[in-house]
Homo-oligomer: 145 residues x 2
Amino acid sequence: MDPIDRQIVALLVEDARRSYGDIGRRVALSAPSVKRRVDRLRTGGAIEGFTAVLDHDALGAGTEALVELFFAPGTLLDEVTARLEEHPEVVEAWSVTGDADAIARVRVGDARDLERLIMELQRDGSVVRTRSQIVLSRLVARGRG
Amino acid sequence: MDPIDRQIVALLVEDARRSYGDIGRRVALSAPSVKRRVDRLRTGGAIEGFTAVLDHDALGAGTEALVELFFAPGTLLDEVTARLEEHPEVVEAWSVTGDADAIARVRVGDARDLERLIMELQRDGSVVRTRSQIVLSRLVARGRG
DNA sequence: GGTGAAATCGTCGCCAA
DNA sequence: TTGGCGACGATTTCACC
């Protein structure tokens, strides 16, 4: 992981479909050499993959919310993770310090779906309370930097 | 935006570097036809772009946190957005309902950087209070759904 | 890390349904 | 309009230096 690797990563975050030749020109390396580095970064796990960034508003999709989760005493993180992964509406989730035990970023059709999702999450008793903040607008959105 | 477009979008979310030919084989379309659709999805705004998904732990990077922001009365959203965009540590931010006015997802080297960032954000008075929750671990992470 | 070569891919104009 | 075909230059991806 040298400065050139970092440059390559930054260029791919900016545009994942950039060609190796284009990257090579910017970092003064040949295309095969760039490919070797990218392959290494992928197998090494630094780059997990490449994805399309969607505009959910333009896609006619719905509502996003950040849901704080409060666990029952003695709840295992793995249980909650498994439960969250059952629901495709959960885009991302983190275990956090502070008031709540975890925060889930969810994408649902509308407020009714959110309500239903929250009920579902609480169903088996590992999540005993939630507190939701519905996203009104996205202020900042960067690659995944 | 027909079912084939949705399939194409899903395939690109899964792997943004897939070739048009590969996509075409999966949706029973020729490569040029797939390219036309992807071009249309991009100019139409449904697909904002393509990015690399990084593993920040593997990259030896630091701490992630969710910072709730409380604005001074009369603060404009655009002001705060501009302020947030000045700081590359802010990966994402949303204006939300509920207790806080906005939530920023930030990535910093360590807790000291977080402290410094928060001081910076509060400096001009539009953000009067913050409440941070440091991410202990990522529970769920899907493409960008 | 570079070079060269072969296979594949991106991209365009043109034509058919 | 939307999709397929053909063609050409660019790109990917090797083996080898």
